[in-house]
Amino acid sequence: MQIPHSSQLIVKVAFRNVRRNWRHSIAALATLAVGFLALALFQGYIEEFLRSQLDVIYSRIMIGEVMVQKKGAGTRQARINPEKYRIDEKEQQFLDRWIAANSGSVKTNVRTLLLVGMAHMGGSSAQMILWGYDVPEGRIARRKWSWNTWAGHPLRETEPSGTVLALGLGEILGCMATSEAPVLDPITAAPLPIERPFQCKQPSLMLTVTSGSGRTNALEAEIVGLTRAGSRDFDEHLLWVPLRFAQDLASTRAVSQYMIVLNQPKSGPMMRAALRVELQRAGIDLEVVDWIDTEGADLLRRGIDLLTVFRGLVFVVILIIAGAAVLTTMMKTVRERTREIGTLRSLGYLRRHILALFAMEAAMLAILAGGIGLLCSVVCTLAINASTITYKGGLLADAIPLRVGYSFSAYAWGFLFLSFVAVVAALLAARGVTRMRISEALSDG
């Protein structure tokens, strides 16, 4: 027998049942809502953490959406034979032409030269990673971090031998900021453009590196500022100088990388692909990559991987507990309504209609719980973000503000995930009763 408008009827009956048995449903509803809240907050935290870290890293270390380097530039072989792994002048000319041809899409281009060596200042020495870059272009690439110093000032074109030291390296060599005034803008989380005082035991330091031919070169640099390097390890090693100074120090005109910053960051994949084609056509063997895929992003990737494992654990726990909560509620509901099921069956409802009825009830519970969970998530997100709590994150040198993002994908997935859990639990609970004979079901209880 065909039930007319059966799907509409099922929806109506399911809705009525949810309302009528609200006391039975409330605990399952609360469990599902808390599950939704947990998923939304955890995912929102991870997404916001990644977004804010990428934003800070891209600004701070002048990363472009298109990064060009020699293949193997991050390997130890490149430390042994550095010149072989640098972009030479001919290749630079090609890249400059390509950038000029795509000037409408390119915001700026920063060339960098990375060197490893020693920094000496009046009897103290330290290992250093020297970062030479185009100063005016770097200022643009740093976006809201254009002023990047905790003390002193950022590098200027008028100071060809100026250097900015990371605070940790500065401390090892005998330089420290002397102002206690707050550095970071509470709104942008970038340093306020104020020249704060600092003290060094000497105004300059001697930098030595081994050139490609094995010769050791040395140059004196004047300390103009102190900054933070982001990660604790790098904070004890990094210093920044103008590109030409770094090239003179290494006796080269080559560079390590081209960082091409685009007007539209979303066009990164397209521009990378276009440049790869052009390089291949010109027979130039350069690697065009996204920074996040490089060795330099290893620390960030490892941190994200760890959080992803935790998120997986939270998902599993919620899946099991929320599933069990709905199962318990549905088992009770189904058992109580055995006679009702028998009546519906005797009226011509098929087993699948009954299963659909319970699945619909569970889905309604999940959607209602999702709605409550969504509301709680938004309220909690607002409260957490307004609380200005900060925490320390392992290798990161700066305290991280605790912030949770509004993750629309997490909300959507939360609804789907919990609906799925609830429907499966309901079907499991209802399966047994629907298999009973009609007469048996009618005479139950």
Partner: protein, 453 residues
């Protein structure tokens, strides 16, 4: 209610299927907590062992006052001279909490192979201390994988070789030195003048394990020593991989032409004593006129990575624990609501027979408690089995700040499980109490004539 517990147990048996579902939810939730607690325990022990032993700092690191920040910049002024060293060692020797103490000198220099040089961090240590650190039971238990050299044997195995050094594996690659001392014995010597510009270089550099070490002494002169690479190793910090060397204390003191040391590490029998020892040694030596800075291993200034990571991990584990607790409490709330609604008339009958509201509430809470305990016991077994399975599977992962990968090991600790259970049980009982209290408050006639149950 003499037989209250057996009555509660019987009631649980009556609704076996539903109670099984609730107990399973509790079991899975608690198993999750056991696993994550075991992970947290393992990470804490691993990082602590690295911070205390493998970074050669001790549970308490004793610098001259302001030495933590200034010993590198102004070594002569902010390092420990022989008199200060003796005072610290003497104090440590008489304190029963200190297992052993050791002196260390830090510095930087250039490691060379005759063709080129690479900057390196240097740590000079006493050989006896190195032996005690590397073969310590804590190291064997928590960080055995990282404490083993990649190749060769540690310097303490070569008492006849005072210039023996251990070189980080990445630095050995940069120096193009594929052989350590034991592997280079008997090979024809390299020529006096190396062919650095040709491919012959690789063969010539590989014939010995000799590494030259150059540095600027504290008075500003350039000094150099010849060393012999007896081992390569992975340092416990990522950035150290391409530039770290361990030498004997005397070799490094010769290189820097000094008798000073940067710090003295105090290794304790019990890590819990670190803060007290740090405080007491500072006061005691202060009275003798020696101003020192003693930092326990959990001081952020001394071990920022350990402290930062543990704070972060603690927050994540805490969040998950609260979440699981909340969801479990709600599950029990739901299950008990259904149980009580089903048994409204039964409760009415008990009340009519003279049982007080308090006794009825206690009976229902007992049911929740038995259910929770059974769930927790099953969860504990499930969690322990999960830990064994994970440990046996040999999964490797790459945590931040550690070179390469390490095996994922879950080590549940009894005290962590007890704390988690102590947090979960009251929550579950409170949920049951809330539901029971609301129901038993109802009028006796209402209870007896209820349509439900």
């Amino acid at each position: 209610m003499e037989r209250a517990w057996s009555v509660a147990a019987r009631n649980l048996r009556r609704n076996r299927r539903r109670n099984l579902a609730t107990a399973l939810a509790i079991a899975f939730g608690f198993a999750g907590l056991v696993v994550i607690g075991g992970y947290g325990n393992r990470v804490e022990q691993f990082l602590r062992t690295n911070a205390v032993y493998l970074q050669h700092s001790g549970h308490v690191t004793v610098f001259l006052e302001n030495g933590l920040h200034k010993a590198s910049a102004e070594p002569e002024q902010f390092q420990l001279n022989p008199v200060a060293q003796q005072k610290i060692l003497a104090w440590a020797a008489q304190d029963r909490r200190v297992e052993f103490s050791a002196r260390y000198l830090r510095g930087v220099g250039l490691a060379g192979n005759g063709c080129g040089t690479h900057p390196t961090r240097l740590l000079g240590m006493e050989q006896t201390a190195l032996h005690r650190v590397l073969y310590h039971r804590e190291v064997a238990k928590w960080s055995a994988e990282i404490s083993r050299p990649v190749r060769g044997r540690w310097m303490d195995a070569y008492p006849e070789l005072p210039q023996a050094v251990a070189v980080s594996a990445g630095l050995a690659v940069l120096l193009q030195k594929p052989r350590i001392h034991d592997e280079a014995v008997g090979l024809p010597p390299a020529p006096l003048i190396l062919h650095c510009e040709t491919e012959q270089r690789l063969d010539e550099l590989g014939r010995d394990a000799n590494v030259q070490l150059a540095a600027i002494t504290y008075d500003g002169s350039l000094n150099a020593v010849d060393t012999e690479m007896v081992a390569t190793f992975h340092p416990s910090e990522t950035l150290g991989e391409d530039g770290t060397m361990y030498t004997s204390l005397s070799l490094l003191q010769t290189l820097f032409a000094t008798e000073q040391v940067t710090y003295v590490g105090l290794f304790l029998h019990d890590a819990k004593d670190a803060a007290a020892v740090a405080k007491e040694i500072t006061v005691a030596l202060g009275k003798e006129g020696l101003a020192i800075e003693a930092l326990p291993y959990d001081d952020e200034r001394s071990k920022p990575y350990y402290v930062g990571t543990m704070a972060f991990l603690g927050a994540v584990v805490g969040f998950i624990t609260v979440l699981v607790e909340l969801v479990l409490a709600l599950t029990v709330l739901g299950a008990m609501t259904l149980t009580i609604l089903e048994r409204t008339r039964e409760i009415g009958t008990w009340r009519a027979l003279g049982f007080t509201r308090r006794q009825m509430t206690a009976l229902l809470v007992r049911e929740a408690l038995i259910l929770s305990l059974l769930g927790l016991l099953a969860g504990l077994l499930l969690g322990l089995a999960g830990a064994v399975a994970i440990n046996a599977s040999g999964i490797r992962f790459a945590p931040p700040g550690v070179p390469g990968t390490i095996q994922l090991v879950i080590v549940p600790a009894a005290w962590i499980c007890a704390i988690q259970a102590a947090i979960v049980i009251p929550g579950l009982c409170a949920a049951a109490w809330l539901v029971a209290r609301a129901q038993v408050k109802r009028n006796l006639v209402d209870l007896l004539t209820s349509q439900t149950g």
